[in-house]
Symmetry: D2
């Protein structure tokens, strides 16, 4: 059983055709799990729907709290890529004995060319088998929370 | 470093618009890895391009051989779902000390509603972290080769 | 007001993921009109759901009859491309004083790379403005029923 | 022979995955014509790549000029929807004896749920058969330039 904690990010952005702007609606997670024909037992908890550049310390505290009180010991967090590493650090200092995998997307799932479905398949799989700890799963790879940074020029997560 | 052994299957079927039939062309693996923004080091080996219902003992022997002589110890095999379990069994009896993950798709990647990208993200991730052995990765789950069957009514892989 | 007479064809084929075969389910027309944000007043009549290679004289008689008794004088017929010209000829000999436009697709709408949505936008537009007569709308062009053939090597409709 | 004058608009917006913003790159017109298996003889002229809310009088003068000097007498203009009606008015006062059809999209073509391909099929078809004049083709319908407005609440073009 895996808990999926939804926080927004590019992963879940949609195109508001009336305003011509990117915005957030309901999460695409259920649709994505259906498309992946996933049979992983999951509970989806939509905690917030925000751009990770707008994420405050209070928001991060809520994410840490959601992980801490989760009855499931395996957790996937969907998150904007820009501050994913910061949130991973906070989760690492506040959550003990659980496997937490943060993932996101470079392009919204709702757009044709998204990496979202690939990343979700990857993150769920890592969450199923990695030992307890906090990880980031992007670009088909996984990184311990303190061994990774996002390269803002290339958009790629790199080992440090 | 992961070797991806391509054998065809629904995963790689395309629609031949002149004949109106499903057929095989070049593998979609490079395009899928690009879409997933994968940074996993991979070598793609296209071994055959066939429907797994047409797979012979000689074809399976070639797959076992490709795994046995692979310098990479972590291998993903893309394969039709109908006889994936049979091939997994042959690989398990012929390949020692490597992590081999078979995956496929219920709907061709080239069609809109495919589980292919989700399964590829999942299979690569399992291949990166599972101990040596032969596994099937479908529906977001992984199964040891001798603990799984495809339910032909539902199209779902089930633990046995 | 335009009547859309659905007869099947590649346009409406789907992929049956349990059998791994192309098949027919419900028509995609309502979904396509929604995607096109169409505000054209339309009535959809699903007459049959067949491959046009399987179409019999009796099937064609039903199509002619549907056009003849249609209260709308502007009609779009979705049809397999292989025998579209034959049906157009029958409609031309049986229907007077109406604008009838046959269209189809080289690749099923349900697959990513379909020409279906383009063709539907095209066929509806021709049906709105062309004078009475029977036409085929494919490849962004329109042809009077007796001035066109499908080139089976290229899949393209050509003026004759 | 139809000239396609590209001016940008939602039609051609893409998602910049490094900045997480909507932006303009090269036009998608050639790809869209290929997807539609279009055999219409077309010349594509990329005049500008801007949001129609940013369009100045000088930009509009360039569009009028491009239509006036076009050797083709049938023209499609791709354009943002917000000020499409204003540009249509300027074209109507500056261009005589040509059939000019403006079209656009509510959702970028590059995103899954776009009306762009439907609208392009529709606009090309109207451009092929309508008498000289300036028209807007949206929602599967066509409107003379002085008989239409965009309803900003619903995103739909309405006859006035």
């Amino acid at each position: 059983m895996i808990r999926i904690v939804v926080t927004g990010g590019t992963f879940d952005k949609t195109y508001d055709e009336i305003n011509g702007r990117l915005s957030f609606g309901a999460t695409h997670l259920p649709e994505m799990l259906r498309l992946g024909r996933s049979r992983v037992e999951t509970t989806i908890e939509t905690l917030m729907m925000i751009d990770s550049l707008d994420m405050t310390d209070a928001d991060r505290a809520r994410i840490v709290d959601a992980c801490a009180r989760s009855p499931e010991t395996r957790i996937v967090i969907t998150h904007g890529t820009d501050t994913m590493v910061e949130t991973a650090r906070d989760v690492a200092s506040g959550v003990i004995g659980k496997t937490v995998v943060l993932t996101g997307a470079m392009v919204p799932y709702a757009f044709g060319s998204s990496d979202g479905l690939f990343n979700l398949g990857s993150a769920l799989s890592f969450a199923e088998v990695l030992p307890s700890g906090v990880y980031i799963a992007m670009n088909g790879q996984h990184f311990p929370w303190d061994r990774v940074r996002k390269n803002r020029e290339t958009g790629v997560f790199e080992r440090i």
